[in-house]
Amino acid sequence: MAIEIEQPSVGLSKVAVSETHGEDSPYFAGWKAYDENPYDELTNPSGVIQMGLAENQVSFDLLEAFLETHSEASSWGKGASGFRENALFQDYHGLLSFRKAMASFMEQIRGGRAKFDPERVVLTAGATAANELLTFILADPGDALLVPTPYYPGFDRDLRWRTGVKIVPIHCDSSNNFQITPQALEAAYSEAEAMNIKVRGVLITNPSNPLGATIQRSVLEEIFDFVTRKNIHLVSDEIYSGSVFSSSEFISIAEILEARQNKNSERVHIVYSLSKDLGLPGFRVGTIYSYNDEVVTTARRMSSFTLISSQTQHLLASMLSNKEFTENYIKTNRERLRKRYNMIIEGLRSAGIECLKGNAGLFCWMNLSPLLEKPTREGELALWNSMLHEVKLNISPGSSCHCSEPGWFRVCFANMSEQTLEVALKRIHNFMEKRERDRNLKVI
């Protein structure tokens, strides 16, 4: 009888086996719980309500209406050349008509206060790819990007996993509404220096995820001066720029640059996408807008790994270059998000919960620190667990966003119907009432 010799199994790379994909964190664990027991108004009214996914579902009807009445968007027109040209088009420059439409859409969102050149628009399959691409381009393995906390949990994976680049946090706290200060910037830079790590840039998200607030003009000026002094890059992820509740409150880095006649602008790169503002994450549409020629050239070439389907480019070019549609969409979307935001803030307030004052995004930044047993990360996770398994709400704990203060949670409100939001608020209300009763019982 032959003896089975154990063959060493064929090895995989460090990237493949690393944990840097971060999918074992609570941020993702909550999603799993939701997947296993998803809320449905009719069929599963006691299921988990997903409030951990920043998706915008409030304006689908506008998109549908457009597509119904503009069939040229989803077809290629009569005549042979339309379809085949599109099907063959794999040029990493991207369809000019689509780049023009994106540039014009970005200008409209900023109320015409900044101009965008279609030749500087680089297309990627989503902002996820855009952020990773920029990281590959701006930093070498072992270098670092400075990122203000709290930040989007996905950055740990998107900026670090394959690139080998590190994130050094710029600590922000509630004492000044989590705004970025020059001291915090300097401290983060020194921290990196002390660890012998070369800092290549600062990456900000404006409007911020998870804070749901825009960055003030003076702060943007300070950040820009800082990166200029240190001669490093600035990446501004403006993916929520179209989801600001009032148009006058968003200042883009592009405006700061234009006010300075684009001096020193070659260090600035803007990331944008249609996943949040237009609610089309399934389409995989992202862009890098860079003021640096070398970065544009390189990003374009590297985008071969993450091209947007030419069919999708064609469809969206048609939609986004229709000024009537885009103006109406931007305005209506804003109003609806503001309405939702007010609804959730009111609902939380009447349950005794305060949030950070926000003015943008698909979520609010909720303060549950008074509820913590212990003002620690463990305390926060324990509370998060209760919210998930008792209250059946999936919300995102601040620790998964690297928030330095325990007790803050990101709560998404745009990925559900108004009715579902009411159900969620009711559950929170009941939860808070029960806690109050239990506390009073203990006192007696």
Binding site: S71, R84, Q90, L138, R284, R301
Partner: protein, 533 residues
């Protein structure tokens, strides 16, 4: 991009033409060593020639540093990226007066930003600047350097006109709304699309093997599929063995961001460019001696640029080799549905079906860019038998997912088995017709092609037309073909072919009339070559 070693004509002729600079140097050194006798002889005898050789190299270096645009083999002045680079660096120098200089990008980026120096890319650029058009630009450059298939669009267009309104919007369960395709989808593809693709692959490969959708990961094209596999199977500094000649894009796709090395394993025309295990073994050992760890073998089957198939026995031998060395095999089967000959295509998957062996080392890449002629839609497949690879690859697809409306459209198309059957058969017939026409035309000019039965191109031996049997000679001919005959073909050196004079000519972008024009243009150049030799 990490460039392959610089291919200036002089350096190449040193390695491939023994009458080059290296031999001249030796003719100097050897007698010199004889001159210096006695005890000091050994030292001086080595030192002096070394010093002379060093100064000689220094002289050569200073006088032949390639300036873009002045290199005779790349006449293209058009690297439009170069003026941009100069402009940007001068602009930023102005603005950062007195400071540390312009803000730097990473070293990975710096190498990618440089103008393309491979004839493969230069040729593609030239065509886009001066593209042939029968009516509008009859003196333009005819494209034979891009393996695109334009022969069967009429079939797809017909299918679309009969089927489309529903597909984009999502007809399932009567749901015509965009809310079906707009939200976040699984980054590795819709389940229905995987099911459709698994069946499509099986159909395209003659139903000799079936594919399991749960072993599939979908990506935005075969380009990221390959890169993702590379990231999963190898660490920076590791290597893959690749039989030559190979698709020039591998140098970019597999190496750029992964930091992985590609080690060529040279194949010969006497073997019809089929890989020999001896050569593979040699390459493996040499690489190991250099301290580089080999993680796998990358094969393309059907092969690009030759267009032949790997015989069953070769596939078995490759499997044995991989097992013995405990490495992976990545089989790029993207042309499996573009067969026009009578031979049967055997997928790696089919071999594995028959053997009860360790399948964890086998990974297949596929896509719709060639067989269904839809490169713009970005549809690629990683098919792996390794659970851990599938888990990691799935997570990595978040950086290269296929757009949902495109998936929706293609689910319908690709599941229409009757349509696909008609498409495959018609496609086969039309490629064969074009192939026969083109190859016959070349034959009339005395140019023979390698045996091939698949792909969208032929592998033509034009060594009879080159002035010196070297890469330099080959590139001179390529230059003539590009600038005088005004056709863009891919020279073998861009594919790392060890034998000079071979050219890949893609013919599926041509009409029958175009073929006649192309052959005529080649004939004119061929005549001038014969006259001058």
């Amino acid at each position: 991009m990490t460039r392959p070693r610089p291919r200036t004509p002089e350096s190449e002729s040193e390695t491939r033409n023994p009458t080059g600079g290296g031999a001249t140097a030796m003719r100097l050194i050897v007698p010199l060593q004889g001159v210096v006798q006695g005890r000091g002889g050994l030292i001086l005898g080595s030192l002096i020639p070394c010093a002379l050789f060093y100064f000689f190299q220094l002289y050569l270096k200073r006088h032949r540093s390639p300036k873009p645009g002045s290199n005779p083999t790349s006449p293209s002045q058009s690297s439009s990226n170069l003026p941009d680079l100069q402009r940007s660096s001068s602009r930023s120098n102005l603005s950062s007066r007195g400071s540390i200089g312009p803000v730097q990008v990473s070293s990975r980026a710096s190498s990618i930003a440089r103008p393309n120096d491979s004839p493969y890319y230069i040729g593609l650029d030239r065509v886009s600047e001066d593209p042939y058009h029968r009516l509008d630009n009859p003196n333009g450059i005819i494209q034979l350097g891009l393996s695109e298939n334009r022969l069967c669009f009429d079939l797809i267009e017909k299918w679309l006109s009969e089927n489309t309104k529903d597909s984009v919007m999502g007809r399932d369960g009567g749901d015509l709304s965009i809310s079906g395709i707009a939200p976040y989808q699984p980054s590795d593809g819709l389940v229905e699309f995987k099911v459709a693709m698994a069946d499509f692959m099986s159909q395209v490969m003659g139903r000799a093997v079936s594919f399991d959708p749960s072993q599939m990961v979908l990506t935005a094209g075969a380009t990221p599929a390959l890169e993702i596999l590379c990231f999963c199977l190898a660490d920076p500094g590791n290597a893959f063995l690749v039989p030559t000649p190979y698709y020039p894009g591998f140098d970019r796709d597999m190496k750029w961001r992964t930091g992985v090395e590609l080690i060529p394993v040279h194949c010969r025309s006497t073997d019809n460019f089929i890989i020999s295990i001896t050569a593979l073994d040699q390459a493996f050992n040499q690489t190991r001696k250099r301290g580089i760890k080999v993680r796998g073998i990358l094969i393309s089957n059907p092969s690009n640029p030759v267009g032949n198939l790997l015989p069953r026995e070769t596939l078995y031998n490759l499997l044995d080799f991989a097992r013995e060395k405990n490495i992976h095999i990545v089989s790029d089967e993207i042309f499996a549905g573009s067969m026009y000959g009578s031979e049967e295509f055997v997928s790696m998957a089919e071999i594995l079906d028959m053997e009860d062996i360790d399948k964890n080392r086998i990974h297949i890449v596929y896509g719709l860019s060639k067989d269904l002629a839809l490169p713009g839609f970005r549809v690629g497949v990683i098919y792996s038998f390794n659970e851990s690879v599938l888990v990691a690859a799935k997570k990595l697809t978040r950086f290269s997912s296929i757009s949902a409306p495109t998936q929706r459209l293609l689910i319908s198309m690709v599941s229409d088995t009757r349509f696909i059957q008609e498409y495959i058969e018609t496609n086969k017939k039309r490629i064969r017709e074009m192939h026969d026409l083109f190859v016959e035309g070349l034959k009339q000019l005395g140019i023979k092609c390698a045996q091939s039965c698949a792909g969208l191109y032929c592998w033509a031996d034009m060594s009879g037309l080159i002035s010196s049997y070297s890469e330099k000679g080959e590139l001179e001919l390529w230059d003539k073909l590009l600038n005088i005959a005004k056709i863009n073909v891919t020279p073998g050196s861009a594919c790392h072919c060890i034998e000079p004079g071979w050219f890949r000519c893609c013919f599926t972008t041509l009409s029958q009339e175009d073929v006649v024009i192309v052959i005529e243009r080649i004939r004119k150049v061929a005549e001038t070559c014969k006259i001058s030799s």
